[in-house]
């Protein structure tokens, strides 16, 4: 039988469509969203594709409703997807924290656009890079991936589903209008070549008041709804069994630390970077759309005999601290390129402090990709 979920083959495909196809291939059964440029094509594709595979795309009254419906759906055991752009994420933030707190697998995509505020909807800006990490109130960890091509829009979306299911947590795919609207070759593998993860679900018949179903650093099985578990799930500070505890001062500490450690303890399985800086004096650090420019600048600079390398951030969060430390041991200088006024740069600088000198280079015009000559010139300057 033809596999309706996986459109195996080579396609000339828009990044946003590849993202939607990645979700369907990963086993997504429910998506919720509200129209927004430059992310709308994801919803357009899912509206048709999910129905073809027995799922449903639910267009909500606003983005708050989208994330809430997604979280509710995830508690019925479904793989869920909530694609949007920055303004939508701004509305969702309170409930993204809720997803963290009650350990709900949900994949979010932010096709970043020019902000602040309504800004320039169809221009790409890497303007929301710290938002997933620090946007919701309270103290927590998050996972965020940065695709650099339509192919990676597919691949990273599949991986985001796997990570969300594995860690019972919200996972972000942080693209921008350039990558979302870019059309390139996308290869979708055979269904059996896709390595898919499904969350652990509490064994039927188990009484969750006798089993730790929350706050397990090794990720507790999910006591999903509709199976007779009689689960108590609360946004309030709670213990391992889901019991509200607003009195004991150690309960909050336990609540925060265990949720953080659930991600941080497994950072080696989560964090990915691409490195090409052996014996280099200088390395460019970049991610997403800008990483394409950085890679090309390195190629051109090397052809001119300049000793420059390259470090691409694939997992933005949790922060690749050890990888940046390694980098800062091996190169003397680091140049961070971002299509913003320096959001990720302070993190890199802090991690490399005392070892490598770190500089930042925005594009000549915010919202545009860095010019090649402009970057090569900066490399020449730094190596002079």
């Amino acid at each position: 039988m033809e596999n309706r979920r996986v459109r195996t083959g080579k396609h000339f495909m828009m990044g946003n469509v590849a993202c939607a196809e990645g979700a369907v291939a990963a086993g997504c059964e429910f998506a919720a969203g509200y129209p927004i440029t430059p992310a709308s094509e994801i919803g357009h594709t899912l509206a048709k594709r999910l129905l073809e595979v027995g799922g449903y795309f639910f267009q909500t009254e606003d983005e708050i409703s989208a994330i809430c419906a997604g979280i509710g759906a995830s508690w019925t055991g479904k793989k869920v997807f909530v694609p949007t752009s920055g303004p939508g994420i701004s509305l969702m933030l309170e409930n993204i924290g809720f997803a963290v707190g009650i350990e709900t697998p949900v994949v979010l995509v932010n096709i970043q656009r020019g902000g602040p505020t309504t800004g320039a909807p169809s221009m790409g800006l890497q303007g929301d890079m710290v938002q997933p990490r620090r946007g919701s109130h309270g103290d927590y960890e998050i996972i965020a991936l940065c695709p650099s091509s339509p192919q990676e829009m597919f691949d990273h979306t599949v991986r985001a589903f796997n990570l969300a299911e594995r860690y019972r947590a919200p996972v972000f795919v942080m693209a921008d209008a350039f990558i979302g609207h870019m059309r390139e070759e996308v290869t979708i593998p055979e269904p059996d070549e896709l390595d898919l993860t499904y969350r652990r679900i509490l064994e039927k018949g188990t009484d969750p008041s006798t089993v730790k179903v929350f706050l397990d650093e090794e990720v507790a099985p999910m006591p999903i709804f509709g199976m007779g578990f009689k689960t108590h799930v609360t946004s309030s500070c709670h213990d391992e069994y889901g019991n509200r505890n607003l009195i004991d001062p150690t309960a909050l500490d336990n609540f925060i630390q265990r949720l953080r450690n659930k991600i941080l303890k497994h950072r080696d399985e989560i964090v990915q970077v691409e490195c090409d800086y052996d014996n280099c004096e200088l390395a460019l650090v970049a991610y997403g759309a800008v990483a394409r420019c950085a890679k090309e600048a390195v190629r051109v600079a090397r052809s001119k005999g300049l000793n420059v390398g390259y470090f691409r951030v694939i997992t933005a969060w949790p922060f690749p601290d050890r990888e940046v430390q390694d980098l800062s041991h091996k190169v003397k200088k680091i140049l961070v390129l971002e299509n913003n006024s320096g959001q990720y740069y302070p993190y890199v600088k802090a991690e490399a402090a005392g070892r490598a000198e770190v500089e930042f280079l925005p594009p000549q015009i915010l919202g545009q990709v860095h010019g090649l000559d402009y970057v090569v010139q900066k490399i020449e300057e730094m190596l002079r």
Binding site: A69, I71, G226, F229, H232
Partner: protein, 276 residues
């Protein structure tokens, strides 16, 4: 020692020893009426998923009900419940929350769930105030009533929630006070069996915040006021707006049948499978 157990105790989580309500709070009556309705229908807690927002009323189900319970964020329970119902259409989904939660911060979700006519029971414990946060004015507070944020009396008009939900497209809408627990239980039973969006507004006394701040007095005084001010829907249609102004119109406002969202989606999926 007597080992007689309250007939509804079996629906409560074994670990629960007491509720969090203040003495005299109407939320206990809401809790009992819901469980009584479930009991009389011969249903079990496993037939349900319960969802609440934030506030005193949101704690009616959380943690008390021995069932799948999702206690969420302020104003959003209907949005969560919608995601649950769309994916577990065979279960009954019931939202229980306060007037501030469902009609102020969460008003938009209430309107759209009613418009979609998604099968769901929403019970709004309307105490006319923000109880949990200390007695601030709510959209449901009577005009001129003094609250902690309207020290000279509220200047705003009072939300007629039931009429708003009916106008938005709900299949079933009823309003009762906590003085009428039998009628309330009967309407909850109907709401649970309704194939469509069913909304019940319960005018519920909050002696500690509403009673103290507005001068409405004790729980007993407030219940006495409910008894005196309640008039039936049937009677209300024969009265002028001026005559109704200070009354609480109680009863069932609408009980109708129309296409329900989950059934429509199931039909569409069936059709697409046939075509594929």
């Amino acid at each position: 020692m007597s080992s007689v157990e309250h007939p509804l105790r079996k629906y409560l989580r074994p670990s629960v020893e007491a509720t969090t309500f203040c003495p005299g709070c109407g939320d206990g009556t809401v809790l009992t009426s819901i469980l009584q309705a479930i009991d009389e229908l011969g249903m079990t807690m496993d037939d349900f998923v319960f969802v609440s927002g934030i506030g005193c009323a949101a704690w009616i189900i959380s943690p008390n009900f021995n069932a799948d319970v999702l206690h969420t964020t302020h104003g959003r329970p209907i949005a969560f419940a919608t995601g649950i119902k769309l994916n577990l259409p065979e279960k009954k989904v019931m939202v229980v929350s306060g007037d501030g939660d469902l009609t102020a911060i969460g008003g938009n979700h209430l309107i759209h769930a009613a418009r979609r006519n998604i099968e769901m029971v929403v019970i709004c414990a309307n105490n006319g105030i923000y109880g949990m946060t200390g007695g601030q004015v709510a959209p449901t507070t009577p005009r001129e009533a003094r609250t902690i944020t309207t020290p000279y009396g509220s200047l705003e008009n009072t939300f007629d929630i039931s009429r708003m939900v009916q106008a938005s497209g709900a299949s079933f809408v009823a309003r009762w006070t906590t003085y009428q627990p039998r009628q309330l239980t009967k309407s909850i039973k109907k709401a649970i069996q309704k194939k469509g969006f069913a909304f019940i507004e319960v005018i519920s006394q909050c002696p500690v915040q509403f009673g103290a701040k507005t001068g409405a007095g004790s729980a007993v005084e407030m219940l006495e006021m409910y008894r005196k001010s309640s008039i039936s829907v049937k009677k209300a249609v024969e009265m002028s707006p001026q005559e109704i102004e200070d009354k609480i119109v109680t009863g069932e406002f609408i009980d109708t049948a129309k296409p329900e969202l989950c059934e429509e989606i199931a039909r569409l999926k069936e059709r697409i499978r046939g075509e594929g």
